[in-house]
């Protein structure tokens, strides 16, 4: 919800969504293509663009970047510690029940590259998510001829998430004000009621929504007009330049 509200209020809201999508995707491809240095450069680049150009508070951005850490650290550990046959390549090794577990230099290398790559790709995605509203992304996908059934589902789901969250909040508050969450036992019971009434509500709402759409002449396709955006050549040149610089530096540093 936090990301969503920034996507409508950031300073790059009025930039053509295709430009933002292009920037994020091209940079992401570079992250996969090249190694550690490129990834570090991308992490810094995305931080600078998101915080200084789009004016997302640095505190918020860093907090968001910390979210993937818990997953990341677990997967990194499993990459670093391996079952090894040959003790001589290991930096540290441990013998448990006849199995040798150890850390090798190769393992550490892979782990570092993976760690940086994940952070770099995530920062590209955050840039896109924080600067581009879902509605705009859907409009771009429509122009790319993605099947309309998929996009209409996406559109309705996105809108209804907020309706449903609001309903869930209302139910929660009304339960909480009657001590519905005072004890553990109460909490389980209340949560059960909350979930089941949400299901019923969403079923009923979906029927009402259909009636409301039909009343406005719905005939199986959600036809709407998107917002008008203008391409900015300055931005496009900027994107091309940045990508070229990234590519050339990466080529030079490639081992």
């Amino acid at each position: 919800m936090l990301i969503d509200s920034y996507s409508y209020t950031n300073r790059m809201y009025n930039v053509h969504p295709v430009e933002k999508l292009l920037f994020a995707l091209l940079t992401m491809i570079l992250c996969f293509e090249f190694d550690a240095y490129t990834n570090i450069a991308v992490i810094i680049l995305m931080f600078v663009v998101t915080v200084f150009k789009a004016k997302i508070p640095a505190r918020v951005y860093i907090k968001l970047m910390l979210i993937p850490f818990s997953f990341l650290i677990i997967s990194i550990l499993t990459l670093i510690i391996n079952v090894i046959g040959d003790k001589s390549v290991a930096l540290i090794s441990l013998n448990i029940f006849g199995v040798t577990l150890g850390i090798t230099e190769k393992g550490i290398n892979t782990a570092v590259i993976l760690f940086l790559r994940v952070l770099a790709v995530v920062s590209c995605l955050y840039f896109l998510a924080l600067t581009t509203p879902v509605v705009d992304i859907i409009n771009v996908l429509k122009k790319l001829k993605i099947p309309s059934l998929f996009l209409e589902l996406l559109q309705l789901i996105y809108r209804l998430i907020f309706v449903l969250v609001e309903a869930a909040e209302e139910i929660y508050i009304s339960q909480d004000s009657r001590l519905g969450y005072a004890t553990l036992k109460n909490s389980y019971r209340s949560l059960g009621f909350l979930i089941s009434s949400l299901f019923i509500k969403s079923y009923k709402d979906s029927q009402d929504l259909y009636v409301a759409l039909e009343a406005r002449g719905y005939n199986g396709e959600l036809k709407v007009i998107g917002k008008d955006y203008k391409f900015c050549y300055k931005n496009i040149i900027f994107i091309i330049l940045i990508e070229l610089i990234l590519i050339s530096i990466s080529m030079l540093l490639r081992r």
Binding site: F162, D205, A212, A215, G217, N219, L222, I225, K227
Partner: protein, 276 residues
């Protein structure tokens, strides 16, 4: 001059699939260009009736007439009917399906098959009329209830229907919004649009409507001009409604003999003029 009825329900009966009788021999005639209020407590079939006027529901028996012709339930005829009869639903959260205000309002005109530049014109015009131009780039879920309501009305105005039906438009709205919406309805009425709304706010209905229908348990139990309906004590008792405050005051003042003129006042200004 002969009265021209734009929408008529003749002996309409409707049953939901679970067997509840929602409408039971309803007869209603809506005069063109007038403001009609349908009064009644919750669950008396007001919404069901409205869905008939727009061809969403088909009566079990009886018929619905638009401009004197019975409506036909095929695709092209229904599209035509829905262009001319728009419904603003009670809960804007259900009516608004799009996360973008602009897209939301463009949905109706797009369905009518207009080219994009004309749709844009209609959307802008509707937003201007509802005074929501500043919401153009806002996502739907950032709006307050009153703003959502305005967008849901703009949804329908953008389709430029002959008849605008509003299901409980004043519920949950603050007095300022109600005032604004009332002003808007008056403006639409000046443009010869027919407005039908349901409400249980008798004070609102009394001073706003040209004609009132009172419903109870799927039946029309009283109809007529507001002053006539609300002065008929017997029928009022029957329909769980109270008398409008203004009328009540007028009657007390009349009893005390401090009232001028014989016209029953419709609003505070008229009442003031009546007092000696």
């Amino acid at each position: 001059m002969k009265k021209q009825f734009i929408l008529e329900a003749i002996d309409v009966t409707f049953e939901y699939s679970d067997g509840t009788k929602a409408l039971d021999g309803v007869n209603i005639s809506i005069e063109k260009g007038k403001k009609t209020a349908v009064l009644g407590p919750n669950g008396v079939g007001k919404t069901t009736l409205f869905l008939h006027f727009n061809g969403i529901l088909k009566p079990k028996s009886g018929k619905i007439l638009y401009n004197g012709e019975e409506i036909k339930y095929n695709r092209t005829e229904l599209t035509k009917l829905r262009k001319n009869v728009g419904i603003v639903f009670q809960n804007p959260d259900i009516q608004l399906f799009s996360a973008s205000v602009y897209q939301e309002i463009s949905f109706g005109p797009m369905n009518l098959g207009y080219p994009e530049n004309i749709v844009k014109e209609k959307v802008e015009k509707a937003m201007k009329q509802m005074r929501i131009i500043d919401l153009k780039d806002k996502p739907t879920h950032f709006l307050s209830y009153g703003q959502k309501k305005s967008v849901s009305i703009a949804d329908i105005i953008a389709m430029e229907p002959e008849v605008i039906i509003l299901d409980e438009p004043t519920v949950y709205l603050d007095p300022k919004h109600v005032q604004e919406i009332m002003g808007l309805f008056d403006k639409l009425a000046e443009e010869e649009k027919t407005i039908i709304l349901s409400t249980h706010d008798v004070d609102f209905a009394y001073s706003w409507a040209d004609y009132i229908y009172v419903m109870r348990k799927g039946k029309v139990v009283a109809k007529g001009e507001p002053a006539v309906v609300f002065t008929n004590e017997k029928e009022l008792d029957w329909s769980d409604l109270r008398k409008p405050m203004l009328l009540e005051i007028y009657e007390i003042l009349k009893e005390k003999g401090i009232m001028n003129g014989s016209n029953i006042p419709k609003n505070i200004e008229e009442l003031k003029k009546c007092i000696k």
